[in-house]
Symmetry: D2
Subunit: 493 residues, 4 copies
């Protein structure tokens, strides 16, 4: 019988239940730097640039040649690391960091990464973006064996697998561990002797890029690993290349080595990174995110044209696509919805009365732009449909005479098990409604999603068939390229 422990957390207002085997899906940001002064400060900056990937918590572990140092906290990077006294506790020329996004369960400091462990062979820290599909199965076996878990993160599975590995060197233990896990993940590991280890899962579902600080070309230092190129840009690092699917890079004083223990299985990069998740100024697998979004807008304009007076993006992810749509259609682009930049996660407890007012804390209609107009709204996706309904209502209340919704992804019909936090299938509007029903439910005069052909054309491929081989689009198609071990097993939660 399992009786989980409900910890009263550090911040009593955010009382949550810890979730032992049933971990949340997370999308996070990871960053690491090797062989530069102020490694922790560079890491804090990199995490800041990756803030959109996780706003719940942040952590950094540095290594000064003798000792590891760590600091973690709940909140934005600036909140956790904005104090120079904190930064002073993180000396060293090597550091890794992590931004955490988490659903309602598990907002505890003990879940904040990087995780650190003392092993027989010394210390090791791990930061991880993604989701393992067999972590519950592995965890059950590890607990049965006597391993004691202290967090509810997938990352701790790596920690224990490395600990119990029968191999001798850290790198062999690391490879032994990753061979046992299934899932989508980008990992950055910091060890005293083997150095900085970066890895993408065998299909490369989650991103990880390699960069280098200028001026270090002649030596062995200056290497940077990051979830996205925008984190290289903020510190002035040059982009070198993307880590390849299944590749392990080992960075230490002997330079950079690349290992391919999984061979070449062909990549299946997450297409939703282009549609929504990545920052528009990032370049992933050689493809600029902004241009991908803009091209999707153009495709949409061609596929599902409609007469209208104005093209209005739902900020912020819809903006490049709306620019593309406007350019292609010749209909003016205007900011008809204004985003309040100060929302954060702070207004957590509106009263019922306030809730009934239909208050929008995050968006407001720009009434003069919308009143009397036929409006094309461009948004990235429809999940439950409730947000889309509110936005359509808001635009109509501001006087729009017609509202046409254009979505820059195909219909989201399936849950993601590879690191994006989506609701279960039964709660996805597109899984249970026809297109017409969806249009009606969200109150739009018309609704169109980009076609798979259009989506993959926008990404530079000939058609859907060519694109589908290169990307994971399971949330739209249900074609899961990595085995869903836990889901298909008989785990008792």
């Amino acid at each position: 019988m399992r009786r989980p422990c409900e910890t009263s957390p550090e911040r009593p207002r955010r009382m949550t239940q810890s979730d032992s085997l049933n971990r949340p899906y997370e999308e996070c940001g990871v960053f690491g730097v090797w062989g530069v002064p102020d490694a922790s400060a560079l890491t804090a900056l990199g995490l800041h640039a990756l803030q959109h990937r996780g706003q719940e918590a942040a952590g950094i572990v540095s290594f000064d040649g003798e000792r590891f140092h760590q600091h973690k906290g709940l909140g934005l990077v600036g909140d956790v690391f904005g104090d120079s006294r904190v930064m002073a506790t993180l000396p060293g020329t090597v550091a890794i960091g992590h931004n955490r996004y988490a659903t309602t369960g598990g907002t505890h400091v003990r879940n904040v990464q990087p995780l650190y462990a003392d092993y027989e062979f010394g210390g090791l820290a791990v930061a991880h973006n993604g989701n393992l599909t067999n972590s519950a199965t592995l965890k059950q076996a590890l607990v049965k064996r006597g391993c004691i878990f202290h967090s509810s993160t997938d990352t701790e599975v790596f920690i224990h697998l490395i600990a119990i590995s029968l191999y001798t060197t850290v790198l062999d233990r690391f490879i032994d561990a990753v061979k046992q896990v299934k899932g989508a993940y980008s990992l950055i590991t910091l060890t005293p002797d083997d150095g900085l280890i970066g890895m993408r899962d065998p299909l490369g579902v989650r991103p990880l890029v390699l960069g280098r600080m200028p001026g270090y070309e002649q030596g062995n230092g200056g290497w940077v690993l990051a979830s996205e190129t925008c984190a290289l840009d903020i510190i002035g690092a040059d982009y070198v290349r993307d880590i390849e699917p299944g590749e392990i890079v080992v960075i230490n004083n002997d330079g950079l080595r690349s290992l391919r223990p999984f061979g070449d299985q062909g990549g299946r990069f997450c297409v939703f990174e282009y549609i929504y998740f990545a920052r528009p100024d990032s370049v992933l697998e050689g493809q600029p995110v902004y241009e991908a979004r803009r091209q999707i807008g153009c495709e949409l304009a061609r596929e599902s044209a409609v007469e209208a007076d104005v093209v209005v993006p739902v900020p912020d992810s819809g903006v490049p696509s709306a620019i593309g749509y406007a350019a292609e259609s010749g209909i003016p682009f205007e900011l008809g919805i204004i985003r309040n930049h100060y929302v954060g996660r702070t207004f957590i407890e509106p009263t019922d009365q306030i809730r009934n007012l239909g208050v929008k804390m995050k968006h407001s209609a720009n009434r003069p732009v919308l009143a009397g107009k036929r409006v094309i709204l461009v948004d990235d996706s429809i999940v439950r449909g409730t947000t889309s309904r509110k936005i359509v209502d808001m635009v109509r209340a501001a006087g729009a005479t017609e509202v046409h919704m254009r979505i820059t992804s195909p219909p989201t019909k399936h849950a993601c098990f590879y690191g994006i936090d989506t609701p279960e299938e039964s709660k996805l509007m597109a899984a249970t409604h026809t297109l017409e029903e969806m249009a009606q439910a969200i109150g739009a005069d018309s609704l169109a999603f980009v076609s798979f052909d259009g989506l993959y054309r926008a990404l530079g491929h000939a058609n859907r068939a060519e694109g589908a081989r290169r990307y994971c689009d399971a949330c739209f198609t249900g074609d899961y390229p990595i085995e869903l071990v836990d889901k298909e097993g008989n785990l008792v939660a």
Copy 2:
């Protein structure tokens, strides 16, 4: 001899000096609501919508028919009022609130508004946006008379003038007080007996609008006062009208009364509210802010056309103008600069090394959009020139082949004494450089400011002459419509 008291503040890291007679120029947001349930919650929402006017601190005073209640704190509205337990301490159907912007001096809770005082006739709370031009002079006289100041805000001058007035009723004392002050201000005052009092200064330099909650038309409640209409929108209040220059509105159980103790002196509304300060979805004095900015962009495109590949706004204030510029010029609009929404004010102490990297915490170049392009940058103003230089450099570093800067205001040559925090004249680049020198200093291939004619045409007037009579544009012209008493006096700071 004056020896000011340096208080060690509530948050020891932000150690600052209090500034007795030399108060900072402030631009703030004010809000008040009369006769509705959950008045404080509505006020918190209104302040949230006005967050762009002040992010240093926030405060609310409510009145429940018997007692006043207040809560104030440093930080964003969501930080200060995001806890339902705090909101529960602010009961009543009347409330006023304030967002504070402050320069480096004086970040103390005791400076956070609304200010409250116990008088012989009862309590009174005041929230104030703007700047008095004779506050130091008045304060010196009041201190000489035996008044003891507890804050370094202009607002406390009102508090004391009301206290020592020889008139009997609160309203007479209030009018007695405002007759003695000079400056630009919007005031909201809460009293038990006279109700909610709203006022704009005689020239109406600072904004204040009147709204009403739907469903209250038949009664005496539901009135709302706010700095901008966006604060009406968030709570679903209908816009009624702008408070007029010099008008005092008194809202209580007898309804709304309007007083005009200063007669009609003609308004001189701050033109910089349209250019920069107000939120784009607000409508001020009947003119939508977004459309004003868009039109300025169109004027700029006509006035100072240049061959280029792309029009790029400096976010966020430059966006509507860049859209207008692009539409008018036919050159594509693209987001070539990405703003990081998570900056806040937290990264306060970058190390020198980090500073030397030229790190941009707030903006990043969208390299694929800029590389190899001739870029038109659209920004709202050039103050010291340092930020513009950094932005031009960043755009060039991203590969732009030409950078043409277009500014949506005339050159800023003079300090504002009416509530906008600008540096002194000697530090304004336009006050000491020719246009050519400025272009060179910021590194642009060309530089152009909108003309006065263009600016006022964009605002719907025939030309500069017609516009200049209606607006305060002192920061561009040096034509100060309100006497600068302290500045011209012999005050010893």
Copy 3:
């Protein structure tokens, strides 16, 4: 009509109502030092030694020759000043400090002393122990005149009286102010030009002693003012003398001057300082407190002997008297009640169930010492009687066969208006019960209070008549030596 403002305080759990005209009676500790390095650190130490006089809050104002600096906070001295970074914000060779005790009303930082004000002539800080008997009357007049109060302390009355005084020099204004107040008070004032000013009220009800740091005899520095000599001992200062009733000492670079604006009215020092309030190692008006208490115990043993097995003090104030009682009676002294030193003020919200268990957080019976014994309990006073009842019950529950209560003060029959926080008369057990009724109510087999003759003999006087001329014993006799202006007036609270 008065509608006070209820501020939601800095620490939300201690939600309290501010109490405009109806201020709490306070007993506090004051300290000041002139002309020594680390003046603030010495002041923090002095306040630490005076912690028993007030545990709610602490504050220090220092002056560095140019500027005042202050820091205040709720909590113990060690909590407020235990951080070296805080102490670093308080430079200077002059400082004054204050420990505050407060009843349930008004635990706000704005009430924490010293109070500081900016005057026309410069800054001034005041710390004050005691209670004014005409503060409400004065405050009403001051508010009518236009003065605005920011705290609910008596001390702010001084601040305003000094501000509105028509005299020119600070010292004249100070004397003008104290001539208008009635009450019991010890004041320490810090001014840039006139230096450190110490004063006891005309009857010297509250204590204030003068000391000097060793090694400063040849110069003008090194002077120390403190509520009790224990604050001199902790910093190694030599005791010089008590400030005399009505005396004003002015300490600055010209040395120490003594003024006597009230002439010699004969002192009426608070006798309860000897019985309960002062620390046992202090010497007040030449009389060691410990020895006074010990002698009262001896008197009690002579006056009200009883056969018993053991003399047990109620810790801590009863200990010296119990030692005296035991020595005089020959009955063994034992620690039959153990005090828990860790109580603090933290366990604020016991559940009802816990309350019903009769839990004693502060004291516990030392069962082996009490079981089967006839016990003489020695305590300092009986106020409401509820605590005495609990203690007698606890001792009986531990197996005592007889419990004889001996009290080291006469019966407390009247409220104190001079700075000791006592309940109103109707709640004082001795005001409404006979001796026999009291014994029965508290469950004691016998009860005896020290006689007035015994009390004053213990203090070195011939008898009650001789002592009563020298002390204020109003709480026992109702003979109030200072006019109770507010109480006898017609103030509407």
Copy 4:
């Protein structure tokens, strides 16, 4: 190679290094309660009564029949649990708690007990007082096996030993674990199915008592386990008996069961609990602590009489012995040293200048009692000698003409490895000085320690030989009854 991780702790001012294998010696308080409403509140009260055993941190784990709940924090029990909202997060009728004392290393929340772990069979929480002598050896083996430690406490060794045990039931696993550890410990364990498990180490070096809430005699609930009887008294529980050396009691809905897996090895209770550690109102192994101390004082008076005017205890542990000394010798007992109750651990950073003043934050001389007197000081022990020197100096500075130090323990010549935090042997004054040298070093006119015969007579035994069989007195004799595995092994720290 081992490179430990230096965590920047929750409270940045107390920056410390975590201490992987080299854990601090700890003396702590443990408490548990089974089958009563408000179990957590009773536990908080019990911990409050045991506060003297550990002031660094406190924690409670409760179980509500379905789930575990926990809350831990740094600070006093009142600080950690004084908020009713915190207590509300700890529902259930079963709870265990822990007070932690720690040396400078390792003040982290993750070290705060009780520790909780999720096992294959469910959750389990452990609280522990004492010290294992083979924990480093066990930990090294466990880490080698792949166990990952998250704290630096001995307690986590139990956690892992239980996890990897090959036995099936929790109780068998528990016994399997305790059979592998060596050391002095009292353990309280909470499990869902086996209930509350209490245990003392085979020699019973550390205390643990059993009590029961009145009114529960007929059922299975109401059981209480605590380090000392004073924790029973505060909640009104009746003392049942001491847990016996090596005994395991299992309390659940079937009642209380006693197991003796180690047989009867004869007890060796820590004699220093009587001399110093336990609270005077506790009764341990049937012997009242107060009376033990008093009798030691009597023995000292007989063994090492000296002519003097006054017997003065060094508060607080010296008080009962000083009373005994005074009673036996006929020399008056007086409080010549006053303890400041407000010290806490707050004044952590006195400036050098202050330190040079020789400031005593904790004790002050009661000058009038000491001046001109021949003083006998009674203290519990001399460790490094520095504190004794300061106290003798202080008493002399207050005017004592002679100072005779009497110590209520034999000379402390050896380190404790069983849970009392003592310095290593080389730093113990008695290990390196003769009696005469010690007297001279501390500045006393004479110095005497109680003899072993006297000590054991005071505890009710015939002589040293009889007592030494019953107690652990290793810190005085070096006769360690439990093997010092780590110390004698070849551990590389």
